[in-house]
Amino acid sequence: MADDKDVLRDVWFGRIPACFTLSPEETTEREAEPYYLLLPRVSYLTLVTDKVKKHFLRVMKAEDVEEMWLEYEGTPLKWHYPIGVLFDLHASNTALPWNVTVHFKNFPEDDLLHCASNSVIEAHFMSCIKEADALKHKGQVINDMQKKDHKQLWMGLQNDKFDQFWAMNRKLMEYPTEEGGFRYIPFRIYQTMSDRPFIQKLFRPVSPEGHTLTLGDLLKELFPAAICAEGGWHQR
């Protein structure tokens, strides 16, 4: 894991330049300038867009403001997906910056989860961590950690502190090779043209014969459409 530190840092510090524009449907007291922001790939929209909200609230009347929600080219953006996933899913083939539209009314109840506060994001994040550990270690590592350790994990993400986060996350990423490593690999495959949010199945990292398996093996077994017959790769 130590030699992977560069990769871990690159993943953690990945950023997407975004341009936030207020929807023309919103009622404003004066024109609002777009707001530019670098979004961390590993974080969540509702966790990092407080400044965006404050910026647009300045030109709006309080009575016209309900829960803020974001949309890209008509598609409401699911705040509970990591930002990097949202961008790759919806906009990776378009020029930067990522143009996101901001709304304060007509919340799309059939598409988006509500996000009343940061504790909702924290609960969602911790629930994902817990589920991943259920797959990796039958939940033993996360359950053995103390509440303050869980809090440190969350605070590391919230405050963009790589070292603080990984001090705790390394325990969750421990891979005891004597026991065959992780029990199952926690993964999700997101697709654009599907009602189904993602594909998530059980997949052991080691074959019954003892060979360590790769991402290609996983896709071949669970999502063969991603790999074309000649052994190459389809675009997404």
């Binding site: 699911k78 509970h80 109840e109 059939d110 598409d111 988006l112 989860l113 509500h114 909702v120 609960a123 969602h124 911790m126 629930s127 817990k130 589920e131 259920a134 797959l135 926690p186 009602d195 189904r196 949010p197 993602f198 998530q200 199945k201 059980l202």
Partner: protein, 228 residues
């Protein structure tokens, strides 16, 4: 057969057994017209059980009314049927119903936790969805304290893993706690049990879903629960 010689019963459910239990559950539902159906995801062998319920409520459940004389325990007028028979009481009961809520329940299988999970959504008849607060107000007082005990062992809004839409979900963390004693007992007494029936009978009533007793007494839908 000595109970002590048996291995402890696993309170987890593999997918095959989940589907078998659902199949048997649905057969009985069909018999007693309990309204459950199986929804298959197109092109896959995955699916879930589904049931829709119409629940009459007093209007104070939907809107905060400080001078409301409604007691928490009878926010939902369960005895409407009985009152209708008695004409005088019937008139009064009818006057008290201000709204009907539509609850839709889905029973899904969780591969990650190897247990069933209950998702549901609630709306007024005009389609207006209920907020988390409104759903909470519909949770029976007796269950509220238990639900509030753990941050992850509670009622939250979640994305439906197969349909992608917002639903509410009862977190699965405590499943082992109540399933283990029930399954251990069944094994010790050499009784057959349907995991889904046992599980749903515990979690359902918290969110106003009842499982009629005949599911438990009907032996044809139960299985010998194997020790693991």
């Amino acid at each position: 057969m000595m109970a002590a010689e048996r291995n402890p019963v696993s309170c987890y459910l593999d997918e095959r057994t989940f589907r078998l239990c659902c199949q048997l559950f649905l057969q009985h539902s069909e018999t007693i017209k309990d309204g459950w159906s199986w929804e298959q995801i197109k092109g896959t062998d995955e699916g879930f059980m589904k049931k829709t319920l119409l629940i009459p409520v007093k209007s104070s459940v939907l809107h905060e009314q400080p001078e409301s004389s409604v007691q928490d325990e009878d926010m939902v007028t369960d005895n409407i049927q009985a009152n209708v028979e008695d004409e005088t009481a019937g008139v009064q009961a009818v006057c008290e119903i201000h709204a009907v809520l539509r609850y839709e329940y889905h029973v899904l299988y969780s591969f990650s936790y190897q247990i069933p999970v209950l998702y549901f959504r609630a709306s007024a008849l005009d389609g207006q969805p209920l907020s988390l607060e409104e759903v909470w107000r519909n949770v029976h007082l007796n269950y509220r304290q238990r639900l509030q005990q753990g941050p992850w062992d509670t009622l939250t809004q979640q994305e439906h893993p197969l349909l992608g839409q917002p639903f509410f979900m009862l977190h699965p963390c405590r499943t082992e706690e109540f399933m283990k004693p029930a399954l251990d007992l069944a094994q010790a007494e050499n009784k057959r049990v349907n995991y889904i029936v046992t599980w749903l009978s515990v979690v359902g009533p918290v969110i106003r879903l009842d499982v009629p007793l005949s599911y438990s007494t009907e032996s044809d839908i139960s299985l010998h629960y194997a020790a693991k």
